[in-house]
């Protein structure tokens, strides 16, 4: 156990550990990176390093043992999805009256509090931030450093404002981690009070090597495909759901096909109709939009003769056919349109209609 288990982004990790070594670790840290880039994993590792009872050193920098009571208890929070599901279940089990004002927290160590977005809105709420403010000024009991990890940067407005207060003057023994896929989503005043570290994409070859260790049961072509599709995010690569991706891609291909090569609208509408309201529909739509972007990018690579950069290697011939029909202007216009749809989704436009609109707008005049 130790930082050697963190793959990729060696330089960022090095910088963070260097600050640990100097005792100058910032009180507020924004870890930015794509989904699955390892933000949460790294935050927990740092929490362990801050509080390890038998700290070790590797490469001349502080590391953690992973064995002591603090390390072990903090590590229990590693499976965030499972802990989150337990918390949701615990809330379901409360009395009706208490349910409403109970907020979700994950805490496997008394001094390390993980704050996940609160369902059903899946945003960080003001009561969650209040809990942070109420407890942060208490001295740590079993650790050296109180650690707070916000796993998402979608804050309710009030919540973000009250977080500002505590970011202004955190006690010397507390560290707040803000994990964000898009730091731009945070208030500028929050960003200016924190240090931002980016977790960038890991090179495709490294992802493939990592997958060979983690997913030996996958076949080599599948690993190659996933390594390209996961966009350098190891967490995403490890848990990549190929089936649902292929399903989303089939829908995306149908939309592009009908736009570029002409086709039956009935088939198209049947597809877009399946993008419904609700949380499930949102996820499905988000995946579709991401897939559309990835296909557009591939079309661009093919158009410029850079087929080595292709992500969707398994459908190269189909893409090549499409690429002939798509010129650069069309791709650029299409990606603008796609951005419009994304914006519309945030304003809760009807999903199926927006997608219909998109595919019609993409049709070549």
């Amino acid at each position: 156990m130790g930082f050697s288990d963190f793959h990729g982004n060696a330089e960022t990790v090095h910088r963070l550990r260097d600050m640990l070594a100097r005792g100058r670790f910032p009180h507020a840290v924004i870890l930015a990176g794509a989904r699955g880039a390892g933000k949460y994993t790294l935050a927990l590792m740092l929490a362990q390093a801050l509080n390890c009872l038998a700290p070790t050193e590797t490469d001349g920098l502080p590391d953690f043992c992973g064995q002591c009571a603090n390390c072990r208890r903090i590590a229990l929070a590693a499976d965030l999805d499972a802990r989150f599901a337990e918390a949701v279940e615990a809330r379901e089990g409360l009395r009706e009256a208490d349910k409403k004002d109970t907020r979700l927290f994950v805490q496997t160590h008394p001094d390390v509090l993980v704050i996940p977005p609160d369902p059903p809105q899946m945003m960080i709420k003001v009561d969650q931030v209040r809990r942070v403010i109420e407890t942060i000024y208490y001295r740590p009991a079993e650790a050296r450093e109180r650690v707070y990890i916000f796993t998402d940067s979608a804050f309710m407005k009030e919540a973000a404002n009250s977080l500002l207060k505590v970011l202004e003057e955190p006690p010397e023994f507390a560290t707040i981690f803000l994990l964000s896929e898009n730091p731009g989503e945070l208030l500028p005043t929050i960003r200016s009070r924190s240090m931002v570290f980016h977790l960038g994409a890991v090179p495709v070859e490294d992802v493939e090597r990592y997958l060979a260790e983690q997913r030996p049961e996958w076949k080599a072509p599948q690993r190659a495909l996933v390594a390209r599709l996961s966009e350098g995010a190891l967490g995403r690569a490890r848990g990549f759901d190929v089936e649902s991706y292929i399903a989303a891609r089939a829908d995306a291909m149908a939309i592009l096909n009908s736009a570029l090569l002409g086709g039956e609208h009935t088939a198209l509408f049947k597809i877009t109709e399946s993008y419904r309201a609700g949380a499930e529909g949102r996820e499905k739509t988000e995946q579709l939009l991401r897939t559309l972007y990835s296909l557009l990018r591939d079309l661009m690579f093919l158009g410029s003769g850079a087929s080595a950069m292709l992500h969707n290697t398994d459908i190269q011939s189909q893409l090549a056919k499409m690429a002939e029909a798509a010129d650069f202007e069309w791709i650029a216009a299409a990606s603008d349109r796609l951005a419009d749809v994304e914006r519309g989704m945030r304003r809760n436009l009807l999903r199926s209609l927006s997608l219909d609109g998109l595919s019609l707008a993409l049709e070549k005049a």
């Binding site: 337990e86 994950v106 001295r139 009991a141 079993e142 006690p171």
Partner: protein, 382 residues
């Protein structure tokens, strides 16, 4: 939380009297978290051994350990859902209860012809508890501590942004104990001297968190122990009251320099009957502005006029006879702050000391005060 594989098979079997168990369960209810999604915090830790059952509740900031005598058949420990257990034991007949740990953290509770099983959690998940220090223990008479808390706790700020005011300052000297609380608008200060505190040299300053004050208050109300043993280490405060031990994490931060705000030259003094003053304020306050709760006090020869007005409610005035022959002056106060003091003072007469309408007013009991109780309220512009 994942259930860890038990290394050795855990056992525990005890018999306790319902009355004793319920008494301890009730005493710890204040510390049990109700609204939490961290499952272990809604559990008690039960430990049986040496002819007693020790039970512990914690919300991570506070923990309360207590015990009751029990017939221990098998020593051991387990955790039990706190609220359900309390609700259930309340309803049992007054008889002996047998508690037994079964497999997979199930716990059986038998009493007469009632038989119940509840599921707890792995006790390794229970937070580890601070240990009462062996050195530096100070004995404080329970009655004194109760008096100090009762006179100050209501003035503690609940504004989360002013975190150093979210507790009361307890100041121990070899021969006196002082407690101060403030929210920035009013300050309650009381000092009890003539006590002997062994083990205190110089000044021992402690910031006692609000939650801890509340819990201490209710523990002191329900005990017949005469002294409280107080100790602290770097991170934790300890209060031992009889067989119960309350621990609280320490708050960080500096309590403001309160001595600077204690008024020194409030020369206009007036003695008022507590209950007359109290009821007059409460009546008049019905017509005060709902947000500011401001009432106006007008000192005139031989009387004090208390008045309030608001555009919605109307206006109201009360006057109380009082021996005053200084110059006429008017000052505004928040009615709630005044009433808080009058309730806590508990004497039949109180003295109001003022300087002018811009300066802080001071209230204190007029007679029979062993606590040197002073209460400072900032005036309001009205």
């Amino acid at each position: 939380m994942p259930v860890e594989a038990a290394v050795a098979v855990e056992t525990m079997e005890i018999t306790v009297s319902k009355v004793e168990l319920l008494r301890e369960l009730t005493a710890t209810q204040g510390v049990v978290e109700r609204k939490t999604t961290i499952p272990i915090l809604s559990n008690y830790l039960f430990e049986a051994g040496d002819g007693e059952l020790r039970l512990t509740a914690t919300d991570l900031d506070l923990s309360l350990r207590t015990s009751c005598s029990a017939k221990v058949k098998k020593e051991g420990s387990c955790t039990i859902p706190a609220r359900k257990l309390h609700d259930y034991v309340k309803l049992l007949p007054d008889a002996d209860i047998t508690i037994k740990l079964l497999e997979n953290h199930w716990v059986s509770i038998r009493c007469g012809r009632s038989n119940t099983k509840m599921v707890g959690m792995a006790k390794s998940n229970f937070p580890s508890l601070p240990v009462f220090p062996t050195a530096g223990v100070v004995k404080i008479p329970g009655k004194v501590l109760r008096g100090l808390i009762g006179r100050t706790y209501f003035a503690i700020s609940s504004e989360e942004s002013r975190y150093t005011l979210n507790g009361a300052l307890m100041l121990l000297k070899p021969e006196s104990i002082t407690m101060v609380a403030t929210d920035g608008h009013r300050l309650a200060h009381c000092e009890r001297s003539g006590e002997k505190f062994e083990g205190v040299s110089g000044e021992l300053k402690t910031l006692v968190p609000k939650k801890c004050m509340d819990e201490l208050k209710s523990l002191l109300d329900s005990t017949d122990a005469e002294t409280v043993e107080f100790a602290k280490d770097e991170s934790t405060l300890f209060f031992r009251i009889g067989s119960r031990l309350l621990t609280s994490r320490q708050l960080t931060g500096q309590f403001p320099n309160f001595e600077a705000v204690l008024p020194k030259d409030n020369s206009k003094s007036i003695t008022l009957n507590n209950s007359d003053f109290n009821s007059a304020i409460q009546r008049v306050a019905q017509f005060a502005d709902e947000r500011s709760r401001a009432v106006r006090l007008k000192l005139e020869k031989g009387e004090v006029k208390i008045s309030a007005s608001s555009t919605e409610a109307g206006e109201s005035e009360d006057s109380i006879e009082a021996p005053y022959d200084g110059e006429t002056m008017t000052i505004g106060f928040n009615a709630v702050y005044l009433v808080d003091f009058l309730k806590a003072a508990g004497t039949s007469d109180v003295r109001l000391e003022l300087k002018d309408s811009q300066s802080a007013g001071q209230l204190r009991p007029a007679e029979g005060d062993d606590y040197k109780y002073r209460y400072i309220v900032m005036p309001m512009r009205i």
